[in-house]
Each structure stands twice: as structure tokens, then as C-alpha cells.
Amino acid sequence: MVIPKPLNPEELYRRCDPKSFDFETTADLGPFNEIFGQNRALETLKFGTGINSEGYNLFVLGPPGIGKHEVVEKFLRARAADEPTPPDWVYINNFVNPHKPRLIELSAGRGKRFRDDLEQLVQELRSAIPAIFESEEYQSRLHDLQQEFGQRQQEAFHEIQEEADKHDIALTQSQSGFTFAPKRDGEVLRLESYRALPEEERQAFERTIERLQERLQQVIQQMPRWRKETQNRINELNEEMALFAVGHLLDEFRADYQDCPRILEHVDAIQKDVIENVGAFVGQEDHNRAAEQLLNRYLANVLIDNARQQGAPVVYDDMPTHQHLIGRIEHHVQQGALLTDFRLIRPGVLHQANGGYLIVDVRKLLMQPFAWESLKRALYSNQIKTESLEQLYSLMSTVSLEPEPVPLNLKVVLLGERLLYYLLSAFDPDFLELFKVQADFEEDVARTTESTEHYTRLIGTMAQQEGLLALDAGGVARVIEHGSRLADDSERLTTHNRAIIDLLREAHYWASSADSDRISSQHVQQAIDHQIYRASRVRESMERAIHRGTIIIDTQGEAVGRVNGLSVIQLGNYAFGRPTRITATARLGRGNMVDIEREAKLGGNIHSKGVMILSNFLASRYARNRPLSLSASLAFEQSYGLVDGDSASVAEFCALISVLADVPLKQALAVTGSLNQHGQVQAVGGVNEKIEGFFDICKKQRLDGAHGVLLPAANIPHLMLRHDVVEAVREGHFHVYPVSTVDEALALMTGMEAGERGSDGEYPADSVNHRVEQRLQELAELARRVHGNNEERVEQRKTNGDE
């Protein structure tokens, strides 16, 4: 077995050579208007927006800050510009069912014109109708009709009056009616005088009075009919005059909107309404209010005006509440009552985006009560039904409207994190029906010559769009290197635009503070350092604790059963590495491995899995033909929080082997890597932070050339280490060893040969593995003896009848 050599400084950090650029500053570069590194997402967007089948709405997945919104909006705007402009939508009064306003679709820009035309019409009606009804002609004809009625009654009464006078009978009015009585000299006869009259005369009076009473009764009972007849004739006159007043205005309107049957129906309804309500237009004050109320019903509510829209709309809703989505119906208070009409229907973003694209943040959408359900309902039914929540759930009984639903034809693009996509897929059966297209954003791209060139131009464009200083070649190179560090991979570049823009902004700040006319590498470095500094309070506190011995980490000497493991702590968006002492103990037992973290419920599942693999690997390697008579324990010393992940399994294995072989481990080295059941070392995450974390501790306690870190060889491409680490390696003060097997790790940690089984199946004497096997054999023998004695004692008790 060859002991791994430490990595060269060049393998620890992939530089970007500023000399490879042929510009002075990014101001010399052309703009980069493409979308960087998101080919898969763009292809998906193209597909999702191009397909017209139902349910092909989009969900754009990716972590926050990756630029989903910008990319999607940019793409959609470019696409929407070439698509047809959607129509205008207008609500008008429904004269038959006023609580169900009618909807009119008009070509873009015509809605506003229609509304203006109606306002003009109403303005003309407002003056034309009273003018006609106050005209001499109308007044005169109305007067004639009323006179005729008065005359008719008067004549009927006069005839009776005259006949009564002719027969000396008085017609007298009481409080509630009329009476007839015989009279003399203008006065009604007293009872005594009447009785004194001859019988014949009295009978004649009575007969006449009875006849007059009947006639008067007939006249009175006919009066309602006469009044009705007169009223009918007045109505006819009103219709005639109203038609004259509005007919030509409405005809002009009809001519302009011949192609729209709904508008023609509306015009007919206006005409009918004017005629039926002529009374409201004539007169003053109270009449004016009534007339205004009537006239307001003739107007139009332009719900969506696309007059200025070029192409299809692209709308982003930053507050996707139920009402924002589907619109609302407002009310106004009148004498304590909440009233509404078609003019108070307000559009939602679904209306505004209809015919185009609606972008919504799914997290915001899900956080708003009922919004998700409302959106699904609209997408399922392909129509927008504007209803208030209280109406929908019958919470309040105010007068409200049921406007005709607006036909819906749009693509909804949800933006959100992957977790939300997977949760919705799992728990909402409607979700995949309605959002069939997932556009998954890449978090990094390969770092090639071509992508580096694009990245360079992208950096220049970002700086220019943000109004920042231009970057020189060194500055760009440092940003690119940092892009790889953010991607945790020297062969890839991050696509998290927000992180890059923030870095540029901060570098701009430092460059401006230094009165520089450009951002160079030192400003970028300053920005990175300051970002780390701002987030480093906890890290420094931990380092201090190690330095003072509060947390025990040895970085010198050797020790049995103790190894420096490496863990990563993530606080917000800042991660840093921290060495942890891992210890192992072993004694005679029945093959059980105690994971103290797990027993204390501080170990996660993955960590437990790592320990189990370790345990089985140990048994299969060293105790293939006999029981593993061992009881061992593993612990993360001074760890008081949850531990998860299997990146410490190689370190744990080394600690255990050290105990079993009774071979000390070098404390100047730290180990990371996960172990499989065949003893191979597998890649782990956060290697840069881990190495830097151990380096910082060692540096504080003085680097002496023995310090270093063992990491899985598979992690070499991920290395983008800090400059001071690379320099320490270059100067031979610090080493990074790539290991592929646990034997390599053991050899490095112990300074002894790990040992491979020979043709005889035995490990070489004085190898670590041989020692381990020997020790396990001893333990097995010991176990056999102990168990054998125990069994003998049990047998004896049985024989003595003690049982």
C-alpha cells in the first residue's frame, strides 16, 4: 500500500488567471443579455409556455436568491411581447337582474372608448331629457291631458250638481263624503219643515235623492278608471317624448357598436329604462338625485383596459391574497346600509394577467388564507368568479353582486423552493393536475472556458445595471474564484445571482471608500473578508474556547483512542468548520457498538447509519470466523447539540482501531470522510470549511509542518481553500492528504503500516490490522472462557437441584 502524498497547493485552489482576460475593465465588455446557466429551466419555460393544453402551468423550483424571478420575468416579457394583446373586459348593469352585472368583451382599447361613449351619451341624456320634458310642447300637451281629466270630472259633478239644483236639492260635503238633502232658499230643510211637506213631494224628493246618490256613486267609482286612462295617455306621451329625446342619440350609438350584440342589448335596455322612468328626469332636487341614480346605471365599468398593453401581459403579484387574485366587490355606505353595484367591481391580478402570464411566489400564496384554493378553483373552471370570502362562506349577509364570470386563459408561473414543490406534489392531489411543468433551476454550472467568459460578461453587466464601478481583470478573476467557492466545487460556478450581486455591491463600497475608479481583486477580497468577519462572532468564540482549553482539542503529540474529527456549523448563510474530539473505548463484550450520541438522543439517523456501517465493517474485517466479543463506545466529546451526518465515520473508525491496536494517533492531524462496508472512504460535504476550521486552530497553536487534514480523495475537486491555507501548504507548514481507504487513513494517523492480508490470510506482524485482529482474538478467547465457566456453573446448579 502506498501512503498518500499531501496535495500540491495547486490542487487546493483553482485559480482564475487574470491574464487570460483581454480587457482592462468590465466596462469594455459587451452586455450579457442571456440567462446564464439555466438552459434546462429555459427549455422548460419555452415548453411550458408554448403548450396550450389544460393544466400546463409552471412551477419554477430553486433556492431563494438564485434569480428565479428575474429569469422568469425576463423570459416571459420577451415571449409575451410577440403575443396578441388580450381584449378589454367591461361590466355593465343588468337591467333584469341588477345583482348579476353583465360582462362585455371588446378588443384592446375599445373598452375605454365604450365607457367614454356611454359617459358622453349619459351627459347628453342628462340635458336632452329634461329639455324635452320642460318644453312648451310637452307641458302644453300634458296640461291638456290633465285638464281633460279635470274637465271630465268637473262635468260629471256639475251635471249632478245642476240636476240637484233643478230639483231643489243641496249637495253638501262632509268630512268623508257627500250628502244630498232638500233645500229652500239655499239652505237645507229642517226636519220639521221636511215633515210638513206633502207626502207626494217628500216621496219625489226621496226618489230624486236616491237617483242622484246612485249617479254620484257611479261618477266616483268611475274616477279611478278615468285617472288610469289619463295616466296611460300621459305615459304614452312620455314615451313618445322620451323616444324623441334619446332616439337619435341611441341610434348613433347602435351604429358604432353594430358588431357587439351585448352592447346593442344594453342600448335597447337604456331606451326602455328611460321611457319607464321618465318621471325621474323631470323636475328638480329630489328628481335630480333619482335621475343621477338612473343615469349611473347606464355607464360602464372597464374592469380591464388593455389600451396601452403591448402584447400579452406579464403580471407579478407580490401579495397574492384571495381578493388580490380574483378581484373584489366594494361597498359604499348609504344611510347605514352597505350598498354596491356593478361600478364597484374591482379587478384582481388574474383579470390583469388574463391572456398572458401571472407570476406568483408560492410561499406567499400558501401563507394567505384561501388564496391557494381560489387560484386552483379559477384554473380548474377556466373562469374568474369575483366573490368575497364572506359571500363564499356565507359569513355575512350584505347586498352583494354575482358578476358574470370572466373567461380565464393564462399561464400561472409559481416560483418556490424545491421542498414546497415536493410537499405540494405529495399532499395536494390537484397540484400536479394544474402544474404539470416543473422548471428546475441549476444551482451551479461547469467552470469551462466558455462559461468563464459568459460569467465575466455577466459580472460586468450586473455591475453596470447596478450602477457599480467596473471590475478590472483581477477583480473579475477573484469573483469567479469565489463563484466556485460558493458552489463548493472548483470545477463549477454558482448561479446564485443574489450572492454575486451582493459581493459586487460590497466590493464597490470598499473600492469607493478607497477612492478607486474600479473594483480590483483586493476590493473583492475585502468584501469577502468582511462578510466572513461580520458573521464570525460565534466561530471566534468557539476558537477562543479551544485556545483556552475550555474545549479540549489536541493538535500536537499522539494519543490512543482519540482523534480530531471535523464538523461544519451553519448559521444563517455562513458556514464554518470546527474540530471535534472523537474518542473510543473497547472492552470485552458481545459485539455491541455503543454510539453515545445516539443513546443520548443527540445523534441523527445518518450518523447512526455511519456507526452501524463502521461496526459491521469492523466485524467482517477482523472477526469473520468468530464472534466479535467486543463492547465499544464512540463519543463526540464536548458536543452538546445534535450531531448528524456520516462524515465522521472514518475518524470514529480510526479512534476505535487505535484503542483495539493500542496504537496512538497523531493529534496534529484531523480526519473527515465517510466509510463504507468495504473500507473505502467516501466524499463528504463542507470540506473547505472543515479544513479551514482545523487550520485556524492549528495556526493559533503554531504550525510546525506536522499539521494537516485527511479528506476523501473524491473531495479533491471540491477544494477552493482560503489563500492563507494554500500558502501554509506551499510553505510546508500544513498538509492536506487525500485518502481512498481506511488503511491509508490509519497509516497516516498512526505512522505504522496498516497491513494487508497475505496469501496466508494473515496480516503482517507489527501492522495495525494485525494488532487489531490479535486483540479481537484475545477478547474472543477471553469471552469463550468467561462464558464457558458461566455455563459450567449453570449446569452444576441444575444438578444440585437449585433451579
Binding site: 307641458q139 302644453s140 270630472q153 246618490q213 254620484l216 267609482q221
Partner: protein, 285 residues
């Protein structure tokens, strides 16, 4: 007090209101109380219990035909007596309420006889008699009934006839001026009422030949100058009743004052002017 051309004094020292149980009478009472309060004069309520009605009810075949329904009902003396008593009690209650509300001194005079005769007997030249549009005229479409016209044209005092609803107080007093012979007393009464109501006075000039209208206007101006009264003029566009009514409606006056000698009162053909006008009319002797 205003002294007119012919030396007589135009005074209103008592307001008399003719009461019955109709809605029109209540409106008349309210207007009368308001006038009495403005003038600081006494208010006299007059209830005339019609002997014709009492006699009609006492006859064995006495019947009543309902105003609206036309139903024929039996009528007895006892019924009529009871109704008249109730009418008088109601009048007293209403008068008391109006008097209290306007803080005016009031009294009630109840008498039996014929309405016209008894009313005219009570009035004196310094009274203002306030009438609702009484008698059956309103209900049968004859707006300005014979009885009202008879009283207005024969009373020895000014007579105010009220429409269905009182007019807003913040409006000018209108007076129809047809010449000094008939119009000066109307002007005097109008000036008095305008002063009481603290309102402007608008003089309406009837349509006529241009020179004649100018002469009329000049005469009225002379009167105004003599009485130091601010006036404005309005020429009526036509003698045709509907047009006049329309013009008066647009002017929006509080009350129209005209002379008994005016064509609108004397000429039966023009009486429709009075019928159509919704604002109160004062006819001066």
C-alpha cells in the same frame, strides 16, 4: 304699518285660520301660526259646524256617499253631532300645540251656520284669513274650489290660500302687479310680508305691450322708492296659464300675492293659474 296710495292702512293684526279635520287645514294652521309668530299677533282658530250637514243628517233618508269609495252609508244626527264635537276638540288640540310651538297667543271660535257666512262674519279688514284648499274640490280634481274662491273674493280682509305643502322659508315674496289701481295694496301687503319674513320682494309683471309693461315697472319702481323697499322685477313670458305656472315654479317664491281685482282671480278661465301653483297665494281686497 304701511300706508297705501289711497290713504288706507295695510295692517295685519290678527291671523284667522279656518279649521276642519282635513290635512289641508293642518297645513294652514301651521302656516298661520308661523305668520302670527312673525307678526307677533294673535291667532284665532275658526271652526264652523255646518248646519246644512246637521240638517242633512237629521233627515230620515240621510245618506253619505264616500269620497273615494263611492259607498253609500246611512247618516244620523247623532253621528254628525259626534263628528263635529270631535272636529272641535281636534281643532283645540292642534291650536294649542301650534300656539305652544310658536309661542303665540291663540283662541278658538266654534260656531254653527254656513261656512262662508260664518267665516266672513268673523273677519275684519285687519285680519289675514288663512285657508287650506277646503271643500271637495281637491278630491275631485277641481283644485280651487268654489267655496274657497267665494271667500277669497268676498272677504273684507286678505285671504291666504295654501297648497298641499308649505314652501321653504328662504325664498323671495312674489307679487303680481297689474297697475296702481289694483296692485298697490298687493304691493303693501307683499312688502309687509317680505319684511316679516326678512326676504326679498320680486314684482311679477304680466305680459302686455312693451310700453305698457315699462310703464307698469316704472310705477312699481316709484312705489318702491316711496316705501324705501328693495325690489326686483320679473316679466312673465306669457299669459298662458301653464307657461305662467312654469315661470313661477322656476322663480321659486315663498308666497304669491295678488289683488282680488286681478284677472287670475276674477276671470274663471285664468283661475287654473291658481290651481296649478303649488305655492301659497294671498288674495288682497
Amino acid at each position: 304699518m304701511v300706508t297705501s296710495n289711497n290713504g288706507t292702512h295695510t295692517r295685519i293684526e290678527r291671523i284667522i285660520v279656518l279649521l276642519d279635520s282635513s290635512r289641508a287645514a293642518r297645513i294652514a294652521l301651521d302656516a298661520a301660526a308661523e305668520l302670527a309668530a312673525r307678526r307677533h299677533t294673535r291667532l284665532l282658530g275658526l271652526v264652523v259646524e255646518s248646519t246644512d250637514l246637521l240638517r242633512s243628517a237629521s233627515l230620515p233618508f240621510g245618506r253619505e256617499i264616500g269620497f273615494t269609495s263611492g259607498r253609500i252609508r246611512a247618516l244620523s244626527s247623532a253621528d254628525m253631532e259626534r263628528r263635529l264635537r270631535q272636529q272641535a276638540e281636534e281643532a283645540r288640540r292642534l291650536l294649542a300645540a301650534a300656539g305652544r310651538r310658536r309661542a303665540v297667543e291663540w283662541s278658538l271660535h266654534v260656531c254653527r251656520g254656513q261656512v262662508e257666512t260664518e267665516t266672513l262674519a268673523v273677519t275684519t279688514p285687519t285680519d289675514l284669513l288663512v285657508l287650506g284648499r277646503i271643500d271637495w274640490a281637491r278630491d275631485t280634481g277641481l283644485r280651487f274650489g268654489q267655496l274657497t274662491v267665494r271667500i277669497a273674493t268676498t272677504a273684507n280682509c286678505a285671504v291666504m290660500i295654501l297648497g298641499e305643502a308649505p314652501q321653504p322659508a328662504q325664498r323671495p315674496i312674489l307679487v303680481l302687479y297689474e297697475g296702481p289701481e289694483t296692485g298697490d295694496r298687493a304691493l303693501d301687503t307683499a312688502a309687509l310680508m317680505a319684511r316679516d319674513a326678512n326676504q326679498a320682494l320680486t314684482i311679477l309683471l304680466p305680459p302686455s305691450a312693451e310700453t305698457q309693461v315699462e310703464r307698469l315697472e316704472q310705477t312699481a319702481r316709484n312705489w318702491a322708492r316711496r316705501h324705501k323697499t328693495a325690489v326686483s322685477f320679473m316679466r312673465l313670458p306669457s299669459a298662458d296659464a301653464p307657461i305662467l305656472v312654469q315661470a313661477l315654479r322656476q322663480t321659486g317664491g315663498q308666497v304669491l300675492i295678488l289683488s282680488r281685482a286681478s284677472h287670475a282671480v276674477q276671470n274663471p278661465a285664468h283661475r287654473s293659474l291658481l290651481d296649478e301653483i303649488v305655492l301659497p297665494v294671498v288674495v288682497v281686497p
